[in-house]
Symmetry: C2
Subunit: 302 residues, 2 copies
């Protein structure tokens, strides 16, 4: 077992660049998952590792940066960084299933039910959700903080959060009228926003600090992220984005671009990025990497 | 909100009968789930409630009885009782999916994907898993105990536990040779045993006591339960059992009855029940309701 990335050292107090911190978070996820699944040889464990690879690692980065801002070590942050990426990967596997969005491509590679089969995809997703809670419970932080992380993760991912948002999204497909702007905003706040906000606020919760500024940051970032996603669905190239594009618009789905128009959607995303950056004021310059991340979200090409 | 069943009172120190305790556990599950899902009106929440109904509530009973043995109140036990039934219900919903066991009938009613659709079944199962961890984190017991419960629940339900066992079961269907007795025993210890043992040991963990005797009880009970299930698959009547019977044997699946013969399987189940009862010696007569439960398992008709 290679514990090189997990040496008990304070996270560098100087601000890392966004790219460095992203790469750092991805390395922590990889090490934690390999360690957690070291005893498992079957197709489920393989599919779990496969599904956690190839993403940007934005959610894991948010946990890592929030932890750094609150003086936590990488050893303390690593299981929580891996937990949010495991939970996100589970949601993608299940969203891609034939009975849901029926996607063949994810992150530029076949989806899990295409690379294996549907049963493996259901079970690998299920096991990644279990693993996320296991990892949160293993973090070397006070028990009160671990309980608060696990409780809020369960809420953010459950029927009041991510799963509820996904259900609204599916219901909207067969609704007689397309959703309005308020409805789409509320839907996305649950479907993608809840977990992004959880990731942003995790560092404060790990340290027993007030999560309010990071919650405000995460809420604005999550919505900006979704608007940017809708813009990419229109403007992006499938090969570059790594999944099918033009799909939402083609399906007559209500999107921020469809509701606001392309230019107004871009302006709204920029304004949300400014809100996100302003929410970080209490942290001063130490939060510049999180500000860089917010600006990246509206400029990304994939 | 009706909190009648949740008044903060010590669990009756006199031994309840098995039937009374089962009914008590089912009432706690119902009250906890209704409270947890009170703000949710959509089909996912409806399917979640539907899937948690109609079962015996054996796992919830095990949590409740273990809690009573360790002097905990019903208020303290209730969220954990509901958590294990929510987790069990999630596993049944996903096991019944067309890509898994493809069952139309469960507990005498249409399975969730038949009563709603596959997407609702996947999401309701996912949300029940989240809810199980949320409920464990909400129990009014020390944070250390909540973390230990959540951690062990994640392990028992994940790739090293229930999901891993289900994957082995699916793999066995297409394996060139049927499984041997040791392999079927190991498979069932993961697929159904891990959660039964978790339920049995939860009360000790809630109280910060040594869970070893209840783990031994749960391990023996879980295996006896699975052997009894195989016997019911042969001897049971579908209408009474509430799901298709003769299915495992018909599918050429390795079962305890197939490997041992009917009479030897019955003898093995009886011997395991005696082991389970003996493991409760440290609790004396206070554990008689758990002993009654173990004996029920091999005499049940559904």
């Amino acid at each position: 077992m290679n514990d090189g990335a997990l040496r008990p050292a304070r996270i560098d107090p100087g601000n890392p660049s966004f790219d460095e911190a992203l790469a750092d978070a991805r390395a922590l996820v990889d090490a934690e998952l390999r360690r957690a699944l070291a005893g498992e040889a079957g197709p489920i464990a393989q599919a779990m590792l496969y599904a956690c690879k190839g993403g940007k690692g934005l959610r894991g980065f948010l946990v890592l940066e929030g932890a750094r801002l609150h003086g936590l070590t990488k050893v303390q942050a690593a299981p929580v960084v891996a937990a949010i990426e495991a939970l996100h990967a589970y949601s993608l596997i299940h969203d891609d299933l034939p009975c849901m969005d029926d996607d063949d491509l994810r992150r530029g590679r076949p989806t899990v039910h295409r690379a294996w089969d549907e049963a493996t995809a259901v079970l690998a997703g299920d096991a990644l959700q279990s693993l996320a809670f296991e990892l949160v419970c293993r973090a070397t932080i006070p028990a009160e903080a671990r309980v608060m992380l696990a409780l809020t993760l369960a809420q953010a991912s459950g029927v009041a959060g991510m799963v509820g948002g996904q259900a609204l999204d599916i219901a909207a497909e067969t609704a007689p009228e397309p959703l309005g702007l308020d409805e789409v905003t509320r839907l996305q706040a649950r479907k993608t926003g809840a977990l992004i906000t959880w990731a942003a606020a995790a560092g404060a919760r790990m340290a027993g600090a007030d999560p309010a500024p990071l919650i405000r940051y995460g809420d604005a970032l999550g919505l900006a992220f979704q608007i940017a996603d809708d813009i990419l669905d229109i403007e992006g190239d499938a090969a570059e984005v790594g999944k099918a594009t033009g799909k939402d618009a083609g399906a007559g789905k209500a999107t921020f671009v469809g509701l606001l128009g392309l230019e107004a959607a871009k302006a709204r995303a920029r304004s949300l990025v400014e809100d996100a950056c302003a929410a970080l004021d209490p942290y001063g310059k130490a939060a510049d990497t999180l500000r860089e991340a917010a600006r990246f979200v509206t400029s990304r090409r994939k």
